[in-house]
Amino acid sequence: MTPEQKLQIERLFRDYARGIGGYALARLGDAARAEEVTARVYLQVVKAIGQLRGPPAPWLWAIARNELAREARPIRLMTQLPDELLELRPSVDEAAVQQEASDELQVALARLTDDQQQMIWLKFYQESTNAEIATALGLTASNVGVRLYRSLQELRGILERENR
């Protein structure tokens, strides 16, 4: 690895690690697992830095999405357990209200398409402007605004249906 690549990785850590970690936490609802996923994302970055071409945000998102999918797989399997075993899980009443809201968000985010999730990650966790997102994703700034709006509408709709 060249010294330039090392500097580039450190810059990617400075600019994106907090956002990736926050998004991983929103998706997984568990700080330890979110930390592990974030660390794995950056270990993957170290291995694959030579493949980075163009804007780093979509590239990082692809790595984070894969790591999240790997991490989320056991949870999906748990939901396929027979009903009598699912009843052994802690009831909703036992969970704190805040945790419940976090769980709802976790489920709702997972139901969005990959593009919608990426849009929300960039806007809310990376605090990027529409122009920055547009540059990263090859869109126009106004298109980003509309897409983000639709993604939020979708997320709101999922959460409302869940709460009914």
């Binding site: 970690g21 936490l25 929103a26 950056y42 270990l43 605090e127 402007t129 529409n130 997320l155």
Partner: protein, 125 residues
């Protein structure tokens, strides 16, 4: 985040979506403060390690070098063996004295070997 609603379409339920977006923004989960330094520590460790592909490549190069040296040694050995002249042939001269028995000289006989007159009937029709 002042740019949250930039370029949003002007639609009837925009207010609801805006309120939802602000709520979402207000309760964004973040990793604990000590998590990022721990992740950075792991990252720095990975950066200081020699990458595994390079370790594997170094191993491959070393094995290839060793194989080349061995092959060169075998080749040199073969060449040296070919170039070595064969041991000089020693010519041995030996002399033997053989004594043959004397062959008696044929004694001429007065009688002819075949007496034609005795077999004359063979030549007549």
């Amino acid at each position: 985040m002042n740019h949250l609603m930039e370029n949003w379409p002007d639609e009837p339920d925009r207010d609801k979506t805006e309120k939802f977006a602000r709520n979402l923004q207000a309760r964004l989960p973040q990793l604990p403060t000590d998590a990022l330094p721990r992740i950075e520590q792991r990252l720095q460790l990975a950066l200081s390690e020699r990458p595994s592909w390079l370790r594997r490549r170094r191993g491959t190069i070393a094995a290839a070098l060793a194989a080349s040296v061995l092959a060169a040694l075998f080749w040199m050995h073969g060449r040296t063996a070919k170039e070595t002249p064969p041991p000089a042939t020693e010519v041995v001269h030996d002399t033997m004295r053989v004594t043959l028995p004397a062959i008696p000289a044929p004694v001429p006989t007065a009688e002819p070997l075949v007496v034609f007159e005795a077999y004359q009937g063979l030549y007549t029709n």
